[in-house]
Subunit: 151 residues, 2 copies
């Protein structure tokens, strides 16, 4: 569940990156906010509370860096900003995102069914699939109830 700090430290050494306090703090923010899909702004806000000043530009640069190192995964829910989450390399389970059209909350759904589809596509299209991203749009349980009331 937790991040493998040893692994991360190693990746940093390999690439000659420095493990600065800012980078640690930003990483911490993700550990403290598991499964929350934080945006750069979100991270910046969180980080400012915990500690001193970290420039927004640094947050962006750090998020980019962690994405390259596969520590974080950059994702896009179509709300005009990039969001990030910890990349759990230990769990090969791809999870899909259920995006509520009403309250915009994002839930996750564990599933491996897509592997089948990938095989079909690879075969039919001669397209080598490396990764996929699936988003389902609809209405979450809470918003469905609200809708029933207001209708």
């Amino acid at each position: 569940m937790a991040i493998d700090m040893v692994d991360i430290r190693q990746k940093f050494q390999e690439k000659q990156y420095k493990l600065t306090p800012q980078r640690r703090i930003i990483l911490e923010a993700f550990v403290d906010h598991q499964d929350e899909h934080l945006s750069a702004e979100d991270v910046h806000t969180i980080v400012r509370q915990h500690s001193s000043e970290i420039g927004l530009a640094t947050v962006y640069r750090t998020l980019e860096l962690f994405s390259e190192l596969d520590v974080l995964q950059k994702m896009d829910f179509g709300d005009g900003r990039s969001r990030y989450e910890i990349n759990e390399k230990t769990t090969p389970h791809h999870h899909h995102h259920l995006i509520c059209l009403s309250c915009s909350k994002v839930k996750e759904f564990e599933d491996d069914l897509l592997e089948t589809l990938e095989t079909v596509i690879s075969r039919k299209s001669n397209f080598t699939i490396v990764d996929h991203q699936v988003k389902f749009y609809g209405y979450c349980e809470e918003c469905q109830k609200k809708r029933e009331i207001s209708d």
Copy 2:
């Protein structure tokens, strides 16, 4: 294959929208560039060649309008700009996008398998699914060949 102009004209009348030359021309751009996933800039460029000046702001407003009317479908391939394609309402087939990580070209893949997955999700998560978007990232046939050569 072609757009149903009668249908579109009707939608416009219903909503009291005007079918201006600009709007026609922009629509034409999509007819002339089927399956090409045009961005606002793309449309603007295309349109400028064919005819006189159409402001970029107008292009944006028009694309937004057509999306609302379900004439176009707005999509996001993560390249920092929205892209649009004609919404073929006649074909209920959802097609998925295969995005090449090497040449960035986007191919399409027809498939209905996801309906199964939607049912599973709805049942397990109490999430009412309205729509989905699936993107597969990988390497297209051409780029695979190039890779073999350069490796």
